[in-house]
């Protein structure tokens, strides 16, 4: 198992007031993303648990790319990965932020 944590300093806070959201399922080719509004507005954190080792660079690139184009300030996104491809990871991250960016 591999565990990675990525920290980011970001400009834009994730909109909405919901504190918690979850998307996805841990299954082959899939992943779950638990997103919690627990950090300061300018911080963002992505925690990855994956059973597929050796793709640290890819994770870093995919996640970093997502953070760059998204208003995700204040969020911790925790991932349990079932062996998803990069495009699925990006999709789930986007769904997770969209879910929490609503009003409670």
């Amino acid at each position: 198992m591999e565990h990675m944590t990525y920290h980011y300093a970001v400009d834009k806070r994730a909109t909405g007031t919901r504190l918690l959201a979850i998307v996805g399922v841990v299954a082959s080719g899939n992943l779950e993303v638990l997103v919690e509004r627990v950090l300061a507005d300018k911080d963002c954190e992505v925690v990855v648990n994956t059973a597929v080792s050796g793709f640290g660079d890819v994770w870093e690139a995919v996640v970093g790319d997502f953070i760059e184009r998204t208003s995700a300030g204040g969020l911790r996104m925790s991932i349990n990965d079932g062996g998803a491809r990069p495009d699925m990871v990006s999709l789930r991250l986007a769904q997770a932020v969209a879910s929490i960016a609503e009003d409670a």
Binding site: M1, R18, L19, L20, A21, I22, V23, G24, V25, V26, A27, N30, E32, L34, E36, N49, T50, A51, S78, N80, D81, G82, M88, L91, R92, Q95, A96, A98, S99
Partner: protein, 313 residues
């Protein structure tokens, strides 16, 4: 706090009814209960994951594939448990099972709130086999004791893992079951029978055979389930409401009636080689056409002839 997301990547065509089969456990709960009424116990943010999967280099899921909580169905309180069939095949592990055990024991204490169990399981999670088996034993006891205290425990079956192994035994402890055509209920799965007894005994690649033997249509006709529903969340919701509205009890007389019914089933059908023989024996003129019948045609044919369960009238 209700963190349920409606969208986990299963694109439903706009305007189409949401199918139960394709939905995740969270989507099923969301569609089943009154909007926004679900309050989850020990939700994913608690991170109560399996302590055993890491040893096998397997990924965890934050809710360990079992979601429990309380919500409302048509304004009335219900306890709900839903299995995520796509995580480890919906199989029972230590934490997964214990969540349902706790919910059922609470329902016995509370007495006034019924329980809905959304089954989607292959049985025991082998990586935690002993804990899974024990959880199932504890759940069977907790289901039946809740029922003895007057609590209805309703099972809904229609997911891609079906309801197998110990899950099939728990289901048969429930007050009543609703099953869709896609649902399957059994103890030994097709592959297990084939591996142990050979392909002549059961060809696990013969999907038609699987559905004739264990599928929702056969179970409903033969008395293994109480309601047959179309594969939509809306239909399952209606069936749950319907079953909750029926008076269900248990006790010696009901168990004796069940005993007679099961003995009669063996007398009537114990020599049948295939479900087709059973259906023919029940009065179906063209049993081979039965699997292809659409919902309404099948209901029209089956309703007058099906076997019913005594403890869910």
């Amino acid at each position: 706090m209700n963190p349920i997301s409606q969208n986990d990547g299963h694109a439903q065509p706009a305007g189409a009814a949401v199918t139960w089969y394709e939905s995740s456990a969270r989507q099923r709960i969301d569609g089943l209960l009154d909007t926004g009424s679900f309050n989850e116990f020990l939700g994913p943010e608690q991170r109560e994951t399996s302590p055993h999967l890491a040893m096998f280099d397997l990924p965890e899921q934050f809710d360990d594939g079992m979601i429990v909580g309380r919500g409302q169905l048509d304004g009335k309180p219900v306890f709900v448990a839903a299995q995520e069939g796509r995580f480890m095949g919906g199989a029972f592990g230590e934490v997964h099972g214990a969540k349902l055990t706790g919910l059922l024991r609470a329902s016995r204490e509370t007495r006034s709130i019924p329980v809905l169990i959304l089954f989607d399981t292959g049985g025991v999670r082998l990586q935690e086999a002993n804990a899974g088996e024990l959880a199932i034993a504890e759940i069977m006891r907790a289901v039946y004791q809740a029922r003895l205290a007057g609590v209805p425990v309703i099972g809904l079956i229609g997911g891609r893992a079906g309801c197998f192994g110990g899950g099939g035994l728990i289901a048969a402890c429930c007050s009543a079951l609703a099953v869709s055509e896609q649902g399957r209920i059994g103890v030994s799965g097709p592959e297990v029978i084939e591996t142990n007894r050979g392909i002549e005994e059961f060809d696990s690649r013969d999907r038609a055979l699987i559905w004739r033997t264990m599928g929702g249509k056969h179970r409903w006709l033969s008395g293994g389930a109480d309601r047959f529903v179309d594969d939509s969340i809306e239909h399952f919701r209606a069936a749950a409401l319907d079953l909750l509205g029926t008076h269900s009890s248990t006790g010696l007389e009901v168990l004796q009636a069940e005993q007679s019914r099961l003995e009669r089933r063996i007398e009537r059908f114990g020599k049948c080689e295939d479900a087709l023989d059973i259906w023919r024996s029940m009065g179906v003129a063209t049993p081979s056409a039965l699997p292809e019948l659409d919902y309404s045609s099948f209901m029209a044919l089956g309703d007058p002839i099906r076997e019913t369960r005594d403890d869910a009238s």
